[in-house]
C-alpha cells in the first residue's frame, strides 16, 4: 500500500508551497485518480512520489518501506512512470521497452530481462512491432509502449500522468482498458490524473481532489459529487444516472 503523510514541497526556499501537507493512501490494485485544476499540484505530487523532486518534509512509504531513503535505482523497482509527454529515441520497440529493466540489469541486459520484455510485449499485443522504430508509431501505440516499458520494471505502483491527453477517442478507450487490466490482473496500484471527469469516474476506484496543493477530499466514487466539483473546479455540473453509470454533464 502506498502511504503518503504530510508531504510538503516548494520549488525554492522563497517560492510558495506547491504541496501542502498532502496525505493519502492507495491499496495495491486500486486506481487512484487525482483531480484538480491546472496548476493545482498534480504533476508536482507525482514528481515527488517518483523521486524526480525531493519533498521538503513528510513521508512516502510503500508497504512500510521508506521510498525517500531508497536510491534512484531501488525506487525504480517500486514505482514506474508513464509521462504525459512521451519521448523515445530512435530505438526499436524492443530496446525501448527493455530499457525499463535497467533498475535490474545495470550495465547490460541479460537473458532474463529479454524474456520478461518479450512476455510483456506479447501480453500487450505488441509482438509484431518489436523491431519497428518506436518513434515512427502512432500515438496510441507509443502510449502502449510506454506502459510496457513501465510494466517490465515490475513495479508495485504505476504513476500515469494524463494518459489520454493527446489521444483520439479510440486510443483513449484502448489505454483506459489497458490500465484497468493492469490493475486487476497484476494487482498494481495506479495513480493517475485525468481532465475528463467522466473518464475519471469510469477508470478510478479512489479519487483525490486537490486544490492549491491540498487534498480537500478523498474516497471512493461516492466522493465525486456536484458540490465537490463546484468547489474544486468552480464548474456547474449535473451528475445523472444512465445504464447503471454516473455521467457528469455541464449545466
Amino acid at each position: 500500500m502506498l502511504e503518503i503523510k504530510d508531504l510538503t514541497f516548494r520549488y525554492s526556499k522563497r517560492a510558495p508551497l506547491v504541496l501542502d501537507k498532502i496525505s493519502l493512501t492507495l491499496n495495491n490494485g486500486e486506481i487512484g485518480v487525482v483531480l484538480g485544476k491546472n496548476g493545482s499540484g498534480k504533476t508536482t505530487l507525482f514528481k515527488n512520489i517518483l523521486g524526480i523532486e525531493k519533498p521538503d518534509s513528510g513521508s512516502i512509504t510503500y508497504d512500510g518501506k521508506d521510498l525517500l531513503k531508497l536510491s534512484r535505482g531501488a525506487r525504480a523497482a517500486y514505482i514506474a512512470y508513464v509521462p504525459q509527454d512521451i519521448q523515445f529515441g530512435d530505438l526499436t520497440v524492443f530496446d525501448t521497452v527493455l530499457m525499463g529493466r535497467m533498475p535490474y540489469f545495470g550495465l547490460k541486459a541479460g537473458k532474463e530481462d529479454e524474456t520478461i520484455t518479450l512476455n510483456i510485449l506479447e501480453d500487450m499485443g505488441l509482438s509484431e512491432l518489436v523491431s519497428r522504430n518506436a518513434n515512427e508509431l502512432s500515438g496510441g501505440e507509443r502510449q502502449k509502449i510506454a506502459i510496457a516499458r513501465a510494466l517490465v520494471q515490475e513495479p508495485k505502483l504505476l504513476v500515469f500522468d494524463e494518459p489520454t491527453g493527446n489521444l483520439d477517442i479510440a486510443n483513449e478507450q484502448l489505454i483506459l482498458k489497458e490500465a484497468k487490466r493492469v490493475a486487476k490482473e497484476k494487482g498494481i496500484g495506479i495513480l493517475t490524473s485525468l481532465h475528463d471527469l467522466n473518464q475519471a469516474l469510469d477508470l478510478g476506484t479512489k479519487f483525490f481532489f486537490i486544490k492549491n496543493g491540498k487534498i480537500e477530499y478523498q474516497g471512493g466514487p461516492e466522493t465525486v459529487t456536484e458540490t465537490v466539483i463546484k468547489e474544486i473546479f468552480n464548474a456547474d455540473v449535473e451528475i445523472i444516472e444512465h445504464d447503471n453509470r454516473r455521467i457528469i454533464i455541464t449545466r
Partner: protein, 315 residues
C-alpha cells in the same frame, strides 16, 4: 614516395630519410588523425545527447575558445612553446618547453570546463542553461583573446593565429599516447553507460523514473567529453565540424542507440579526419592546409545530403 616504398620504410627497409619520414612524421600524424577524429566525434555525440541539442558540439562548454586563449597567452605573452606550425620539426627541439603552449591551452580549457559545470550545477545541469553558459563563457575567452592579440607583435600575432589552425603535423608519439589514453578511457566509459545515455533520449523525467541518476550522468559524461576535446585541441589546434558532422551522419544512418552510435561515431570521425588530413597535405602545394577547413569542406556536402534527402522519423 610510392606505396611500396612507404611499406618498406615502415618495416625499416628504405633509406634513412624515408624511414624517418614514415616512422617519425607520417605515422604519428596518422595516429593523431585516428585518435582525435574518434575522440572529437564521440564527444560531439555525447554532448548532443546530454543537451538534447543537435547544434551541441565538443566545444559547447567553451573548451576551444579557452584553449585558444591559453595558447595565445603562451605565444604572445610568454613567447613559449612552438611558434610555428607543426611542419617545422625544429620547433620541438627549441624553446624552453615544446609543450608549454599545449599545456597552457589545456589549463585554460580545464578552467573553462570546471567554471561552466560548476555554475550549471546550481541549476541541475539543465540543457538550456549549459548551452547558454557555454556561449557566455566562450565569448569571454574570445574577447580576452582579441585584447591579447591587439597588443601582440606581428610575429606573435601570426604565430598565435597559425596555432588556431588545426594541424595534425604537431603530433608526436608522446602526444598520441596522451590523447589515446584520454580518448580510449572516455569512449570506454561512454560505451559502458550506453543504456543510461539511451535513457536520456526519453527525457529527464522518464530516465529518472527508470533509475538513472541524470544529473550525475550528465556531469560525468560532459566532463569526459570536454576533457577529450581539451586534450585534442591543446595538442592539435582547432579542428571544427568533426564533432557535429560525424555524430549526425551516424545517427541518421544507424539510429540513436548509443551501443551502435558510439563506435560508429568513433569510426566515422577517424576516417573523416584521416581523409581530411591526407587531402590537406595533397592540396597544399608542399605545405599542409589547415585540416579543420578540409573537414568542413569534405563533411558539409555529405552532411547536407543526409539531412535534406533522408527520410525523417517521427522525432
Amino acid at each position: 614516395m610510392s606505396i611500396k616504398e612507404c611499406f618498406d620504410a615502415l618495416l625499416g627497409n628504405g633509406s634513412a630519410a624515408q624511414v624517418r619520414i614514415i616512422r617519425n612524421i607520417r605515422i604519428p600524424r596518422v595516429l593523431a588523425a585516428l585518435i582525435a577524429g574518434a575522440g572529437l566525434s564521440v564527444s560531439g555525440l555525447i554532448m548532443q545527447t546530454n543537451l538534447n541539442n543537435p547544434m551541441a558540439s565538443p566545444a559547447t562548454l567553451g573548451v576551444s575558445n579557452a584553449a585558444v586563449f591559453g595558447a595565445n597567452l603562451s605565444i604572445i605573452a610568454f613567447a613559449g612553446g612552438f611558434l610555428s606550425t607543426g611542419n617545422n620539426l625544429s620547433s620541438y627541439t627549441t624553446g624552453a618547453n615544446p609543450y608549454s603552449t599545449s599545456l597552457m591551452a589545456f589549463i585554460f580549457s580545464t578552467i573553462s570546463i570546471v567554471v561552466i559545470l560548476g555554475l550549471c550545477r546550481l541549476r541541475s545541469f539543465r540543457p538550456g542553461v549549459v548551452v547558454l553558459a557555454g556561449v557566455a563563457i566562450g565569448s569571454v575567452w574570445t574577447a580576452a583573446t582579441t585584447i591579447l592579440q591587439f597588443y601582440a607583435t606581428d610575429v606573435g600575432l601570426s604565430a598565435a593565429v597559425i596555432w588556431t589552425f588545426g594541424d595534425l603535423g604537431r603530433a608526436t608519439y608522446k602526444t598520441d599516447i596522451i590523447m589515446a589514453i584520454v580518448v580510449v578511457v572516455g569512449i570506454t566509459v561512454f560505451i559502458i553507460t550506453s543504456w543510461r545515455l539511451n535513457a536520456l533520449l526519453s527525457g529527464d523525467a522518464a530516465a529518472k523514473s527508470i533509475g538513472v541518476n541524470v544529473n550525475t550522468l550528465r556531469f560525468i559524461s560532459m566532463l569526459i567529453a570536454s576533457m577529450i576535446t581539451a586534450v585534442c585541441v591543446s595538442f592539435l589546434g582547432m579542428i571544427g565540424f568533426v564533432g557535429i558532422i560525424c555524430p549526425h551522419v551516424i545517427k541518421k544512418i544507424l539510429g540513436q542507440d548509443h551501443r551502435v552510435s558510439i563506435p560508429g561515431a568513433a569510426l566515422s570521425g577517424s576516417i573523416l579526419l584521416l581523409l581530411a588530413d591526407t587531402l590537406s597535405r595533397s592540396m597544399g602545394n608542399g605545405s599542409a592546409l589547415p585540416v579543420g577547413a578540409i573537414t568542413s569542406m569534405l563533411g558539409a556536402p555529405f552532411f547536407l545530403i543526409i539531412i535534406l534527402f533522408r527520410k525523417e522519423g517521427r522525432s
